[in-house]
Homo-oligomer: 161 residues x 4
């Protein structure tokens, strides 16, 4: 049973952000392409920048004793990225609960889709024990980029489950 | 929609092999645990050793012009592995078609399950274009470890789809 | 006998370029700082960008059959870089011979020196056998950034040794 | 001025240990060889195993609040290591002072020297501030492998400087 294609993303566009980066030499392998584990690093950069675009430094959360370890990940590799490619990581906050958050990612070279995937992260404390997201964190996870238009008011307000 | 738990592995036990390794310092991150991308590297070691335990060097295949890029991966992180842990990678060849192969993995510390996952790999040539597995490769993917008891004859012989 | 401090750089300032990047989470280790091997990756980014700032893509050279493997490296770690730090890699082409080139690097956080080092690279062909730098490559290695002021004419023209 | 060749190692043979490992696919780059930063990881494995062969877990030291960050490193790359190579890391404790220790390394494939280098490490506390090696640590740094013949008594007893 092959992995199912991810269901279509039906999230508000204000929950998506983009970040560009250039593929490094040391990220390639002997097939001459980016090693498949490298995309988890790209996803990570994507979500750190997603937060920064909402005025939050992930580092700050870590200092306050909140960590977000990845508890699940899936990736589909479409086309290989190569050394020196300028790629875009498109990151979407797809779902927030009281204790977890799910992000989706697409890695693009221009309009070409190279890789897509998702990660689920749990909120834990310094001791790695589960912890509820504080109010302000949940608010950030539902917000648009700083300086962007606020999203239109929905028929019924979205809430973290 | 969180990722579904992987369906139970119903593969013949002769398709599973184990390989032990020790977590390196450089594989950890600032949370003090193995970085989540590192497990894709462990899985890779697991399948290279799975092949070696069947008398095959993956390198040899590469020299003959066969490569096996990962086209899909999924991982569930259960408990963190830490620096200097002695871990076991349990690798199972879960499904073989004419052009792809799926492996499942469990990373264990003693009896504790730390991470499980699977990868689907495609057979491609030096030009990264899809290619059928040659007969001898398919045979290896269905075989037990060298020197191990052959698996009992099944009611009807297993064939690559 | 501890490593000697690197002798003062006495190279023309037009042979120095700067590139900024942000430290990634996956580049840290359990000491909470950037793993010491990561700086060799930063140096590599530094010299790829040094070339780009002179109108050259290292990838292009690779396509023409020129590669520049590192044959020597040395690093002095002064202060730790940390996750999310915005750092600058200052890269200087310090010496060019017919078959090797030496780059020096300083990694800075603002005015703070975090790490300094150098690498010597050899010119080799696709078969990894030594090869002379072609004329145009040597010219690039002695040139200022594209669009920058040309360096003042020296008393006697510099030549690759 | 190219880096000088390292001066000949004149340390007692009981301060050298060996550890074998196999090159992983993910350690290669698009030149088809082990990426040059990877050797710092191999050196690190070498010194962790050097300690283990003397009955010490580096992890234990970390738990007691001793860390050994690398403050200097140098490497000479002789021949490339490749995917699936079985290599040996030969690690020698070359010099111990009250606050630093210097290790030398040779990475071999059979009798072939692939890479050699050295690292200087400083003793620091949890706060990364310099700290003297405790007595028992210094003793370990001058000792042979557990179970090995003790070194012959020197004319005058070696002491940590």
């Amino acid at each position: 049973m092959p992995l199912k294609p991810t269901s279509p993303v039906e999230v508000a566009p204000h929950l998506t952000s983009r970040h560009a980066l250039r593929v490094r030499f040391c990220e390639t392998d002997l097939m001459g392409i980016v090693h498949h584990a490298g995309y988890l690093g790209y996803f990570e950069v994507g979500r750190v920048e997603w937060l920064r675009q909402r005025g939050v430094s992930y580092l700050e959360w870590a200092t306050r004793g909140f960590h977000l370890p990845v508890v699940e990940a899936r990736l589909r590799y479409r086309k290989p990225a190569r050394f020196d490619d300028l790629i875009t990581i498109e990151t979407t906050c797809a779902e927030t609960t009281r204790v977890t958050v799910r992000f989706r990612y697409r890695v693009l070279r221009g309009a070409e889709l190279l890789c897509e995937g998702e990660t689920r992260l749990a909120c834990v404390g310094d001791d790695l024990a589960p912890k509820r997201f504080p109010e302000d964190v949940t608010r950030v996870l539902l917000s648009p980029e700083v300086g962007a238009e606020p999203p239109p008011a929905p028929p019924c307000a979205p809430t973290a489950r």
